[in-house]
Structure formats: C-alpha cells, structure tokens
C-alpha cells in the first residue's frame, strides 16, 4: 500500500512538469497543407461562383426536373458499374494472385492494359460497331470494361502482401474453402476493394467523353454542355450537386472501411504462399479471363483497326502523319510533366498518412481525395478563372496551366500509388538507418526512396496514363493551335470521320500501353528486393 501511495505521489508530482515540445512533423505538415490548399482551389472557385450567382438563382437551377433525371442517371450507373467492377476486379485478382491459374503472370499484365485505353475510345469502339451499345446499357458495358483495373490493381497488391498464414489458420480451425475466402481473404482485401470502388465511383461521376459518345446524360456531360453554352451559373449549380455526391461516396466508403488500421506483424521477409489448386475449374476460369480480355481489349482495338483499314488512303497521307507525331509528342510531354508533378505533390501527404497518426493527417488525406470527384471541367475552369481574374492573366492559356490542372486532377491516383509504395518502406528501417549515423535526407534517398522507388514509378505511370486518356480538361485548357492525341481524335470523332480518328486512338493506346506494362510488371513482382 505504502509503495503504491509513494508511486502515485511521484506520478502527480511528475505530471506537473511541463512537457517539452512534442515532436511533430512540422515541415511535412506544412507542405501537406500547402498541397491541400492547391487542391482546394477548384472548390473554392466553385463556392465563389455560387456566391456570385446568388443563393436563389442557384436554388432555382438545382431544383428543376432536369436535376432529377441527371441524379437518377448518375446514381444508377455509378451503383451498377461499381458493383460490377468490384466483382470482376476482386475475382480476377484472386485468381491471378492466389491460384495456379495457367499463365497467371501473363494475365496479371494483360488484365491491367484496358486501363490504358481511354474510356472514350472504348465507347467509340463499341458504339461505332454496334448501335445497340448506347444509353444506359452501353454505358454500363463500356465503363465496367474500361475501369475495372482500378479495383484489380489495389486488390492484387493487397492479396500479395497479406499474411497467408491467416488463411491457413482459418482452414485449420475447420473453416472451408469458401468460408475462408469470404471471411479471411475478402477481409484482408476489404480495404483495397473499397479503395478501388471509391476510385471507380469517383471516375464515373467525372466522366465526360464516353457518355457524350454513348448519348448518356449525367451531371458531368450536362455541366460541360452548359459551360460550352456560357451558362456558367447553371454549370456551377450542377457542379455543387456533383461535389455533394462525391462527398457522399467518400463518407460512405469511410464508414464501410471502419476505423481499424491494418498493420502487419511477423517477419519482414515473407514466405511465398503456395497457390490454391483450381483443378478442373481452371478451364471455365480461363474462359472467363479470355472473355474479359476479348471484350475489354479486343473490341476497342479491333474496332480501331477496322476503321483504320476501312479508311486507309486518307490516314496514310503525309499531313495526317505529321499531325499524329506532333499530337503524340504533346501528349507524352504533358503526361510526363503531370506525372512528375502529381507524384511530387503526393509524396509528403503519403508520408504523413503512412508514418504519422492523428486526426489532422486523416483529414488531410481524405480531403485530397475529394479532387477526383470534381469533374475535370470544373477544375479546368477554376484554374483559368484564377489566372485570368487574380493573377493578371499569368499562365493563362499556357501548357503550364494545363499541366497544373492535370496535377490537381490526378493527385489522388498518385497518392494511392505513393502510399502503397511507402508502405513497403517501414519506419523501423528509417530508425535503424538514422542510428547508423545517416542524416534524415540521406535516409530518404538511401532507404525510403530505394524501397518506395518502384511504387513511385507506378504512381507516375498511373498519372501518365490518365493524362493520355484525359479529354475534358484538355479540350478546355489546351493552348490555342496545339493538339494532343485526345483532342485531335475528338474533333474527328465528333465529325463522324471515324477512319481519320482511328489512327489517333491507336497511337493513344500504344503510348499508354507502355506505362501500363510497367505498371503491370510492378504490381506483378513478388514483394522481394532487387539486386
């Protein structure tokens, strides 16, 4: 008793000592806030616009029958496509990562490639061949085939890094194959599935080109139409609703995910788990993979080739070739610059998210995702508005502005990649490196970056791909007289000059396929060190 009393006394006495300054990642926080502020610009603009238009005017524009139609169209498409992507992406990832599916290494690459094909090229591929690929039905088919890799990639990565011991324990506790899959495997991949679904839903909310071709009206297409008709108030009002929808999606995902943080324990160097045997089931599964690749990759590519061959003479004329090279060059340039910009911006936020806990970092991380839900058209408009109105036209109408716009738009993609890669570089390794006399910056380059490097390349590639396939913001912000593959394709496509549009689609596919191959290889690689 006496000892306990003494102890309590000492404790309260010590508690009176003012604690020294707590260690907080001040620089990291500051930079992250700066990034968040840049990302918030489009939203700020939106609110300023809405304020300028007046509450009653905005309310009038929101509460009309059109909004209800758009809401119905947007929501039912988002729900159906997200569900389809979740099923396809998760199943494909499990078969590739955890079973003895024949040719799984090759499938792992091929299955990701559809991400490289622009959504509007996929829709062009289907719509130009079959007129029934139109409206809701067309939109479901096209968008599912175009974006399911967004679920596949994170789920495959998480399945690869998950502890196989848990499945074995579950089996040993009398849980069957199916039960183990549902309770353990899906549980391990839950965060990745939800994260992928979040991306899919947000991409759907912001898609423009594909829906325009398929004649399917959503908030984003309507905002673009109103914007082109110079009815800024209307597009602003609709944007508010769209942003609200994105917020709901984010909140829903956050609630489903729960508060738990996944942490891995156990030895750092992992045993590679033996794949599950498929047995006779391998044949139907192989057929499914073949069908998936045929629909997602075969149809758009074949369609593009078909139109090219159909219009061979004009496509081969000298003028077209020069503009093709020129457009491809611009696309690659913008993609590269935007990839670097987004990855650099994502690095501090990802570091904060992975290495530090606390409410502020959670808030920061969440808020940066919001950007993906704001359609490119709004972001593009915001930046031109800011440069024209507040920066005395500085940067207005230049490539810089377009690249900055891409950087903001695709920041969330980069963040996903950078976070995943930083998770491969645990903080304990940094501590060891510092105890060995290395300064923080040296540790960053010799350990953190080395381990995260492949993931950073993957993040860069994700952004690059997205820029190649980006249409909306590009159409609005591209410097006068410049063409990218997407904009040139678009102007031919809208004129129904399919055979002239086809070469641009093909080059887009090729330009984007290279990074997607790198991406596939990165996620394909077993988690082991390089030589």
């Amino acid at each position: 008793m006496a000892a306990a009393g003494r102890l309590a006394g000492r404790r309260s006495e010590q508690a009176a000592v003012a604690p020294r300054r707590a260690r907080r990642p001040v620089i990291l926080l500051t930079v992250s806030y700066l990034v968040a502020a840049i990302l918030a610009l489009p939203l700020v603009f939106l609110l300023i616009e809405a304020h300028g238009a007046g509450a009653s005017q905005v309310a009038q524009l929101i509460f009309r029958p059109l909004t209800l139609t758009l809401l119905w169209n947007t929501i039912r498409l988002t729900v159906v496509v997200t569900a389809a992507c979740a099923v396809i992406g998760t199943a494909a990832a499990w078969w590739v990562e955890r079973t003895d599916l024949p040719g799984r290494r090759a499938w792992a690459v091929v299955v990701v490639v559809p991400l490289a094909i622009p959504d509007f090229v996929v829709s062009f591929g289907w719509n130009s061949l079959w007129t029934w690929a139109h409206g809701f039905r067309g939109a479901v088919i096209v968008m599912t085939l175009a974006v399911y890799p967004l679920v596949y990639l994170p789920v495959a990565a998480s399945l690869r890094s998950a502890d196989p011991g848990q499945e074995e324990v579950a089996r040993s506790l009398g849980s069957g194959r199916v039960r183990t899959f549902v309770r353990i495997t899906l549980g391990q991949a839950k965060g990745a599935i939800l994260g992928g679904c979040l991306l899919v839903a947000l991409v759907l909310l912001a898609e423009y080109g594909a829906f325009e071709i398929l004649g399917y009206q959503t908030f984003t297409t309507e905002i673009f139409t109103e914007f082109n008709a110079y009815s800024f108030d209307a597009s602003c009002a609709l944007s508010l609703v769209l942003v609200l929808l994105s917020l709901l999606v984010l909140a829903g995902e956050g609630m489903l995910r729960g508060r738990g943080r996944v942490s891995r324990s156990g030895p750092m160097t992992q045993r590679i788990n033996p794949p599950q045997r498929l047995g006779w089931a391998r044949w139907p599964v192989l057929a499914l993979f073949a069908a998936l690749v045929l629909l997602a990759l075969g149809v758009p590519v074949a369609s593009t080739l078909y139109w090219m061959v159909a219009g061979l003479p004009p496509a081969l004329s000298g003028g077209a070739n020069v503009s093709l090279l020129n457009a491809a060059g611009h696309t690659a340039l913008y993609g590269g610059a935007a990839g670097i910009l987004a990855t650099v911006m994502a690095f501090p936020v990802a570091l904060l998210a992975v290495r530090h806990s606390g409410r502020m970092r959670h808030f920061l991380e969440r808020s940066t995702y919001l950007v993906l839900g704001i359609p490119g058209v709004v972001i593009a408009f915001a930046l031109s508005y800011f440069t024209e109105r507040y920066a005395a036209g500085f940067g207005y109408g230049t490539s810089m502005l377009l690249i900055a716009c891409y950087g903001i738009m695709f920041f969330p993609l980069a963040l996903v990649g950078v976070k995943a890669s930083l998770a491969r570089a645990p903080a304990s390794l940094d501590e060891v490196a510092r105890s060995l006399g290395q300064r923080r910056l040296a540790v960053l380059f010799r350990v953190t970056m080395r381990l995260a490097g492949p993931g950073l390349v993957a993040a860069f590639c994700l952004v690059f791909l997205s820029v190649v396939t980006e249409l909306t913001a590009t159409l609005l912000l591209i410097p006068t007289g410049t063409q990218t593959l997407a904009t040139q394709f678009w102007s031919y496509e809208t004129n129904l000059s399919y055979s002239q549009a086809a070469p641009f689609a093909l080059v887009m596919i090729i330009v984007a396929a290279v990074p997607s191959y790198v991406l596939g290889r990165f996620f394909n690689r077993p988690a082991r060190p390089r030589g």
Partner: protein, 349 residues
C-alpha cells in the same frame, strides 16, 4: 566509468505516463539488461536512449555528452548508437554486406570492414546474399554486425532474441556475450524474459510502473530483490511468513539462517521470507516438514513440485525444484527442508 547515465527521465504519450522518473547508470563495457513485463515502458526507454523519441523531463548522457535534456535533443544519427531492433529490420533492398556497411563512410566500405564484421559474427561468406535468403538467427547476427560496424558508443538491443527458436536463442546469446566481451562493447538490452536478463547481463535493471525498481547484478537481483513483488518477477519464489530472532528466522520450514545483507539486519520482528524453490530439499529424512504433492511438472533436467503442508489450511503451496526425474504422483506424502541463508523483508505492521 559510466557510459550511459539517465536521470529523472519522464515520458508520457498523451495523458498516459509511461516513464515516471527513471534513473539508470550503465558502466562502460558492461551489458545491462532492462527487464520489465510488456507495457512497462522498456521499449520507450530504449527509444529515448536512441533518440527516436524525446523525453518530457530528465536527462540522458552518452559518454560525456548530454544528448537529451532541457533544450537539448541530439538527433539519433549523431549519437553513435548501434540499434538492433526486434525483427532485425535489415534493409531488404541491400545485400548482407551492404547492410553491414550501411553506416560506414565510403572509404571504410571499400576497405572490407563489413566483411570483417561478418566474420566476427560468424557469417563470413554470406556477404552477397540478400536478407530474405537468411534464417532468423542469421538475420539477427547481420543486424548485430551492422550495429557494431560503426563502433558505437553503446549498442541498444530491443528484445533481440525473442523471435528465435529456444536452442538458437541460447547459442546466439552466448555468442553475443562473447562478441561484446571481446570488443569491450557497452550494451543495453531490453527483455521481458528474466532467464535471458539474468543469464546474459552484468547488471539487470527491473523496470516497473515506469521506474527502475531495482538495478543490481543478476545474483543480487535474484537472491536479494528489493521487495516481494520483484522476487516473484525474477523467478519462482516461496514467500513465507517468519519471525526474526537474532541471526535466524523461524518459518514453516524450520529455523533458517538469515542472509547478512537482509534489510532488517537482525532486528527482531515479523518478516516476509524469500525461499527459492532450489533452496528446498525433498525427502531429506524424518526431520522435515510433512506435506502432500499437489502438482508435478517434469522438465527433463529438473522437476517443479508443488507441495501443500500437512497442517496448513490457508491453501499455501510450496514450490520445490528437484534435480533429475523421480516421478511423484499427485497426493504422494513428502517431507521438505530448506537450506539457508534466506533473504527477508520487514513486514508492514
């Protein structure tokens, strides 16, 4: 000469105090074990020594330099500490040799120092392998070589043997002790395993409730712990009531000579007596205390027998450790006799 000195160290996470005034001195060239149950703050103490955390109050000195104190916090990379974390934490992207050479200047790295360090830990020829190609024990040795390569002022080990197999643990422990002894390394080791602490360290600091309850040589800690709770923490203990009279103490197990260093120093009165299980003989003859076996645990080299005294109804059992393995069924009648000297504490009146 002391190599590490800690005074009044206080550390809280949020409103939860973890260390509440730790004082510790680590003599140069010694191996000090910090022994504590999980959650006692021993890893926090190690991280404070390494500089990964900053103390709220108190000071830490390494060598002659104050590294943590009011207005002072020396970065981990400038403390010259060799840190060996629990899982080894080898850099997975580097070869074994590059891991060991990580903290060395470029010139030293070329000079083959890393290879020499690997020889020291018995892993010569493994330099070109990658960490995932090594067993757990080998990884731990590499982590040790990496820490020693920078010729640290002090090596900090965080439960370094916890993830190893039992037989491997003993041999690596012995190797580590030998390597440290030969190099004259000062080391601080954190562990929750009292066997490990007692067998490997020159000095054991028992951490309890955020303070060092006792810091002593292993033999002292085991046979003369500061209080009954600590006696139980460092090993099996029989804590019996006794009456002190002159140099002897009257207990259930007869009159026993008192350890001359025991605190009451021969003052007559009520005491609590510590009798370790190996101080008790089983079936010495007719003049022992009679009892009955209530459980029998066989361990090969020895056996632990719990005995209930025949005349005591308080449910007290006495733990006896006997060498060899004569099986004793539960219920067997036995007699017990203790050998002194025994340690005792005055009882609160």
């Amino acid at each position: 000469m002391r190599q590490v000195a800690v005074t009044g160290l206080y550390k809280a996470f949020g409103s939860h105090p973890v260390l509440t005034g730790v004082d510790l001195e680590v003599p140069a060239g010694s191996l000090t074990a910090i022994l504590g149950p999980s959650g006692s703050g021993k890893t926090t103490l190690l991280r404070l020594l390494a500089g990964f955390e900053q103390a709220d109050a108190g000071t830490i000195s390494i060598g002659d330099a104050l590294v943590d104190g009011p207005g002072v916090h020396v970065a981990p990379e400038r403390r010259r500490i060799g840190y060996v974390p629990q899982e080894g934490s080898l850099f997975p992207h580097l070869t074994v040799e590059a891991n060991v050479g990580f903290g060395l200047a470029v010139r030293e790295r070329r000079g083959g120092k890393a290879a020499k360090m690997l020889e020291t830990v018995g892993l010569g020829g493994f330099g070109q392998r990658y960490p995932h190609q090594l067993s757990g024990g080998q990884q731990q040795r590499v982590a040790l070589a990496r820490a020693l390569a920078i010729e640290p002022a002090v090596v900090l080990l965080d439960e370094p043997f916890a993830s190893l197999d039992t037989h491997l643990r003993a041999s690596i422990r012995a190797d580590v002790q030998e390597i440290f002894r030969r190099a004259g390394t000062t080391a601080v080791l954190v562990t929750h395993d009292q066997d490990e602490a007692l067998s490997v360290a020159d000095q054991v600091a028992a951490l309890r409730d955020g303070t060092i309850a006792q810091c002593a040589a292993p033999e002292d800690l085991y046979s003369r712990p500061a209080d009954p709770g600590l006696a139980r923490f460092v090993g099996d203990a029989n804590l019996l009531e006794g009456v002190l009279d002159g140099g002897a103490v009257k207990t259930l197990l007869g009159d026993l000579p008192l350890d001359p260093k025991a605190v009451p120093a021969g003052q007559p009165g009520q005491v609590t007596v510590l009798i370790r299980p190996e101080q008790i003989e089983l079936d010495p003859g007719q003049d022992g205390m009679a009892g009955q076996v209530v459980s029998y645990g066989y361990h090969g080299h020895d056996a632990v027998v719990h005995v209930r005294p025949a005349f005591d109804a308080d449910g007290l059992t006495i733990i006896v450790r006997v060498r060899g393995g004569r099986h004793l069924p539960v219920g067997s009648p036995v007699t017990l006799r203790a050998r002194g000297p025994v340690f005792a504490w005055a009882r609160d009146q």
